[in-house]
Amino acid sequence: MGIKPNNENNSSTDGDIKLKSGREGLMGWLNPTRYGWERVSYWLQRLTGVGLLIYFIGHIYETSSLVNGINAWNSMLELTQTPGGHIFLLLVIGASTFHTVNGLRLIFTESGIGLGRPGRPDYPYDATSLNYKQKSGIWVAMLLAAIAMLYGGMVMFGDVN
C-alpha cells in the first residue's frame, strides 16, 4: 500500500520498501473495551445516534400513514403492540435517554469544560482529562437509560391497560 519512502529522511536504504497499511479500520471501532470508559461513551454515542436517526426516519414514515386515513394509522400502531414491537421501543427509550444525557456531557467536555487544567506531569502520569468528574457522566447516562427502560418495560409489559 504504497507510501513512497522519503529519501530526505533516509528512511530507506535500497529505495524499495514494501509496506502494508496497518490500519484497523472498522474492526478497531467494533471493540470499544480496550481504552477505558470514554471509548465506550464514544462507541455508544455513535451507535445510539445512528440508531435514533434510523428510528426517526421510520417514525416519520409511521406517523405520515395518518394521511391515508385512520385505518392505515391503526394498522401501523398494531405493529408496536407486539412483543417484538415492545422490545424495539424499549431499545429506542434506552438509546434516546443515553444519547441525550451523554450528549449533554459531551457538549461540555468537548468544549474543554470539566477536564481540568494543564499542569506539570508527574508519575504515574494519569491524564487529567480522564477524571472521574466527567467520567461519572457516562455512568449516570447508562443508569438513567436503564431506569427509563425498566419503567418503559413495566408500562408496556405490565398489565397497565
Binding site: 522519503n6 467536555t109 468537548e110 474543554g112 494543564p118
Partner: protein
C-alpha cells in the same frame, strides 16, 4: 540473588513484505524477573533465539519514542512496560496499529511525522527572525513559571505514536492529523512566545481536522508521558467555538542590558 525468575511465552508478529512472507506469530520462551521489560524480553529472544527479529528501539528509558508496539492488545512502549504489570503468562507483541508495516514489529512513521510537520511545530514570532545569521541576533523571551505551566506537559511529547495508534478516528481517516499533531497545535497556542495562532488554526480547522475528534479519550489513555493529548484537543475546540478565551500576552524580549 534471591530474585524470583519466571518463564513466560513471548508471541511476536513476524512478516517481511519484501520477501512476500505471510504474517505469522513466532513463540519464544523467555525467563523474566520482576523488573524485566517487554523490550528486555524481546532483546533476549533476539540475542539467544532468533537474531532476525525486527524491532526498533534506542534509549530504553521512555525518552526516544522508538519502541512503540501493540502489547497484549494496547499500544505501549516496550521499554516502559514491565512483564509483571501485564499479569499474563503470554505476552503478545504486534506492530503499532494504524502505522504502515515494514517488517516484524517495525512500522513506518513517515505519515505520522508529516502530520506533525504540517502544523508548523516551532515558535512563530514576528519580532524574531527564524534563522539567526548574526550571533548578536540571539534573543531571550521573558516567560514566568506560570506561563510555562500552560504548555509544559504538551511539550513532553516524545512522538512515539501510541496516541495516533489508539485513536479510532485515525483508524479510518488518513487525512486526520491525529492526537499528537493536534495537541501540539494547542501547545504552541498556549505558549506566550508564539504568535502563529491564526496560521495553525487555519490548518486544523478543516473538514478532516480537529472536528473529527469525538473525545474517545483513547490517546490520553495510552500516552506514556502524561501529555494528555485529549485535553489539549478539547481546549482547542473550546477556543475555536469561543467558549474559552486565549487572552495570552505575547512575551517580550529581554534586552542585552537587562
Amino acid at each position: 540473588m534471591s530474585e524470583e525468575t519466571k518463564k513466560i511465552k513471548l508471541k511476536v508478529y513476524r512478516t517481511n513484505y519484501k520477501k512476500e512472507e505471510p504474517p505469522h506469530y513466532d513463540e519464544f520462551d523467555v525467563s523474566v524477573k520482576r523488573w524485566t521489560t517487554v523490550l528486555d524480553a524481546l532483546l533476549d529472544a533476539k540475542s539467544y533465539s532468533d537474531s532476525s527479529l525486527g524491532i526498533r528501539y534506542s534509549c530504553r528509558m521512555a525518552s526516544c519514542g522508538s519502541c512503540g508496539m501493540k502489547i497484549n492488545g494496547k499500544p505501549r512502549l516496550a521499554c516502559y512496560t514491565k512483564i509483571s504489570e501485564l499479569n499474563d503468562q503470554t505476552i503478545v507483541c504486534d506492530p503499532l496499529p494504524s502505522f504502515p508495516r515494514i517488517r516484524d514489529l517495525v512500522t513506518d512513521f513517515t505519515e505520522f511525522f508529516a502530520h506533525h510537520k504540517k502544523i508548523e511545530p516551532y515558535i512563530h514570532n514576528d519580532k524574531v527572525p527564524i534563522e539567526v545569521v548574526n550571533k548578536d541576533d540571539l534573543v531571550e523571551f521573558k516567560q514566568t513559571p506560570e506561563d510555562v505551566d500552560k504548555y509544559l506537559q504538551f511539550s513532553y511529547c516524545i512522538k512515539c505514536g501510541l496516541c495516533y495508534s489508539a485513536c479510532p478516528t485515525v483508524a479510518t481517516d488518513t487525512k486526520f492529523p491525529g492526537p499528537q499533531a493536534l495537541s501540539q497545535t494547542y501547545r504552541y497556542m498556549a505558549d506566550t512566545r508564539d504568535s502563529g495562532e491564526s496560521t495553525r488554526l487555519d490548518i486544523i480547522d478543516d473538514r478532516h481536522g480537529v472536528w473529527r475528534c469525538h473525545f474517545a479519550g483513547s490517546c490520553s489513555n495510552v500516552c506514556p508521558k502524561g501529555v494528555d493529548p485529549a485535553l489539549g484537543i478539547q481546549l482547542l475546540k473550546g477556543h475555536l467555538i469561543g467558549i474559552t478565551k486565549n487572552d495570552k500576552k505575547i512575551a517580550t524580549l529581554r534586552s542585552k542590558e537587562e
